[in-house]
């Protein structure tokens, strides 16, 4: 008797465990499956799913797009928030096993990773060439989101960069905002030294593992880690990179850099007033304005310039675009994107007003919302400035190995700071890149 009871208990436990396991793993599929059947039977419109990260930015943009959608086909949009790392992982695991099951119809991919996905998984993405007017978007976005003449991504936000700077610190050091317009890195460092002397605060933060600053510097001169083909490493004998790395070292040696090791320390440093400037992408605006006590003390000026041929005062950091997976529902998803992000000018006004997101659809980049002055920035209309710069960002082919090169270069950069010769540094990085990226 006892044995029978024991057996039954064991079986119950096992069944329960198996059932639990199933439910956990397949909840997403179930949701989608049920949505799909719903769409098919209820006539409520075709169901499409979208994955994105950042609830305050990308997810909000999708919600606004859902409201703005006025196409002929009825659509049910389900928005699922995932961390960017998770999206990258899930795309990689699913696409490499050749399945699109459990995958969304629309997915957001960072521009630096775009070519990697497009080339590593041919046929996994649905071309949008016939759905959107490619010429209506900023050049530099098209370069990174297309492959072999087909347009795969629908360009979304611009990562146009500027120099956020504390006007009160500038004044204390005897400078005005006009003195920091269109400056070079050498001038920037000099101002940084003066500010440190006057206020005791460092000029900027740096994370030694994050080469965002170097990437911004080289793109401002129209150069990148790779040749134009996006796969031949272009590290040794790259004057822009050479100048960037030198500027980086000068920054470090001027002792005006606060070292940080993650995002929250980075944000904390300028919110606490520990640094006088933040050279980065415009998506940092909400984090800057989050510290209300500093209202009126910030300005945004053009990014400092390198002293090499082709150098400009505009550049880009980050930014991402929408992609449609080549699976059931791709036409509906493409239609949805084309109707909203791809052509609706009013929608871009909403994006500015509601979430401060600056797009890269040029016809949508004018109007009232763009001209309005921002109180936090002492009345400066930063959106207008950023969108003006967006059009001038030098187009480069990010290629598919941005982050791999980042890691190689981060090591060599440390060696350079420890007095390794500059030419050796870049040549070693070049040869490492060549052996690694095959």
């Amino acid at each position: 008797m006892k044995k029978v009871v024991f057996m039954m208990l064991t079986i119950i436990v096992m069944v329960a465990l198996v059932a639990c396991g199933d439910r956990d793993e397949e909840s997403v599929d179930d949701q989608e499956a049920s949505d799909e059947t719903e769409g098919a039977t209820n006539d409520e419109g075709e169901a499409i799913t979208a994955w994105a990260w950042d609830p305050n930015f990308n997810i909000r943009a999708l919600e606004l797009a859902d409201q703005a959608y006025d196409g002929e086909v009825d659509l049910e949009l389900e928005i699922i928030e995932n961390a960017q790392d998770d999206i990258v992982q899930r795309l990689n695991t699913s696409l490499s096993s050749g399945t699109t099951q459990g995958m969304p119809n629309i997915v957001l991919i960072e521009d630096y990773r775009a070519q990697s996905f497009l080339q590593a998984y041919p046929d996994a993405f649905y071309p949008l060439t016939d759905y959107i007017d490619v010429d209506a978007f900023a050049d530099y976005k098209i370069e990174t989101t297309s492959l072999d003449g087909e347009q795969y991504g629908l360009p979304f936000d611009t990562g146009v960069a500027g120099l956020y700077i504390r006007t009160d610190y500038l004044e204390e050091a005897g400078y005005s905002v006009d003195d920091v317009q269109d400056i070079t890195w050498a001038e920037y460092i000099q101002i940084g030294v003066d500010i440190k002397e006057a206020t005791g605060n460092n000029m900027l933060t740096q994370d030694p593992s994050d080469l965002g600053l170097i990437r911004m510097m080289i793109q401002s001169a129209g150069s990148w880690y790779f040749e134009e083909d996006g796969s031949t490493p272009n590290l040794a004998n790259n004057p822009a990179l050479e100048a960037s790395v030198q500027a980086y070292r000068e920054l470090m040696e001027a002792n005006i850099v606060s070292m940080v090791s993650d995002w929250s320390q980075f944000v904390g440093a300028f919110n606490d007033g520990d640094v006088a400037s933040v050279p980065t992408g415009n998506w940092i605006t909400p984090s800057i304005t989050a510290e209300e006590t500093q209202s009126g003390n910030w300005a945004v000026v053009p990014f400092p310039k390198l002293e090499v041929d082709g150098a400009t005062n505009v550049t880009n950091l980050g930014g991402s675009s929408w992609y449609v997976l080549n699976s059931d529902g791709k036409e509906a998803a493409a239609t949805f994107l084309a109707n909203t992000f791809g052509s609706n000018e009013m929608f871009y006004q909403d994006l500015i007003n509601e979430i401060g997101a600056i797009g890269t659809y040029l016809p949508g980049m004018q109007g009232e919302a763009f001209e309005e002055g921002h109180e936090f920035f002492d009345g400066q209309s930063i959106v207008a400035d950023f969108s003006e710069w967006t059009e001038a960002i030098p187009a480069v082919n990010y290629g598919m190995h941005t982050y791999a090169i980042d890691d190689i270069l981060a090591v060599e950069l440390q060696n350079y700071l420890n007095d390794k010769e500059l030419t050796d540094v870049l040549e070693d990085a070049q040869s490492q890149a060549e052996t690694q990226l095959r």
Binding site: L95, S116, S209, D262, D407, V411, E412
Partner: protein, 287 residues
């Protein structure tokens, strides 16, 4: 007789099928994968290329050296600490034994990510450790614990030692219960000092457990991932990257090359086999 055997096999069959399907098949498949290379889904066989590539891949070499640094510095320190703690806590005259045991074991039940994040904040530029050092005037400028390659390694080693010492201590504590008191008594009568008792009785009696904990710690260190990713992210400039993190980077951070990632994973397998064999040879019994 035959029938009886068949029924027996039937019972075993379930686990054989399960193990083959979920252990052996992936292992063989990963081994085959380690001879392929390419981006994402475009894999093709490239012979021994991946294995040759290991030797002139500086990131792999620094991952390997870092992992061995952790191994050589951290495992002995942790094992000795765990031994000392367990012997101290095994002393029946010690008051609040239960409290100390729990306190030292507690880190082993905290989540890897949670404690890593706390370590990261403690050792950040304006973290509690730096404030402490500055307030005591030991240093004048905050030490860049996480952005300096030497200090970053120290922080990682500190963190894993804190996390795993208590875990190993529990094994020793339970093994100590099995050592007969009369042995110590006889040793005392023969005039053995406490230290002699420790080296001549406790350590030899604990040898199998020491071997076991050394092997599990070695394997654990070779697979180190969570701490490094969360505390330093492998930085600055690969100074703390481990083999596991490199595998992750190859698969998910860079343009995926699952073939080469599989090769690097097999390096861990080979290392575990070699190191365990050495440890058995050095410390194990004859049979």
């Amino acid at each position: 007789m035959l029938k009886k055997n068949n029924i027996g096999w039937l019972f075993v069959l379930i686990s054989i099928v399960g193990i083959s399907l979920f252990y052996f098949y992936p292992m063989i498949d990963a081994f085959l994968l380690s001879f392929q290379s390419g981006m994402g889904a475009n894999l093709e066989y490239t012979g021994l290329n991946n294995w040759m590539r290991l030797f002139d891949d500086p990131t792999f070499i620094s991952a390997l050296t870092n992992t061995f640094t952790y191994l050589i510095v951290q495992v002995p320190v942790m094992i000795i600490l765990a031994l000392v703690f367990s012997v101290m806590l095994n002393d029946p005259t010690l008051k609040f034994r239960g409290f100390f045991r729990t306190a030292i074991f507690l880190p082993a039940v905290t989540s890897l990510v949670a404690y890593s994040v706390i370590f990261k904040y403690m050792f950040s530029g304006n973290g509690i450790v730096n404030q402490f050092l500055i307030n005591l005037s030991i240093v004048s400028e905050p030490i860049n614990f996480l952005t300096d390659s030497f200090w970053a390694r120290i922080v990682i080693i500190l963190a894993i030692t804190w996390r795993w010492t208590g875990y190993n201590m529990i094994f020793y504590l339970s093994a100590l219960q099995n050592i007969d008191h009369s042995i110590y008594e006889a040793a005392r009568i023969d005039g053995a000092s406490t230290f002699q008792q420790f080296t001549k009785i406790t350590v030899p009696m604990l040898k199998p457990i020491i071997l076991f904990t050394t092997i599990t710690s070695t394997i654990g260190t070779l697979q180190l991932f969570d701490e490094v990713v969360n505390i330093t992210g492998g930085g600055p400039g690969n100074a703390t990257i481990t083999i596991s993190q490199y595998i992750y980077n190859l698969s998910f951070e860079y343009t995926p090359n699952f073939g080469y990632a599989a090769t690097v994973s097999y390096v861990i397998v080979i290392l575990v086999v070699i190191l365990s064999a050495i440890q058995f040879k050095v410390a194990g019994d004859k049979e």
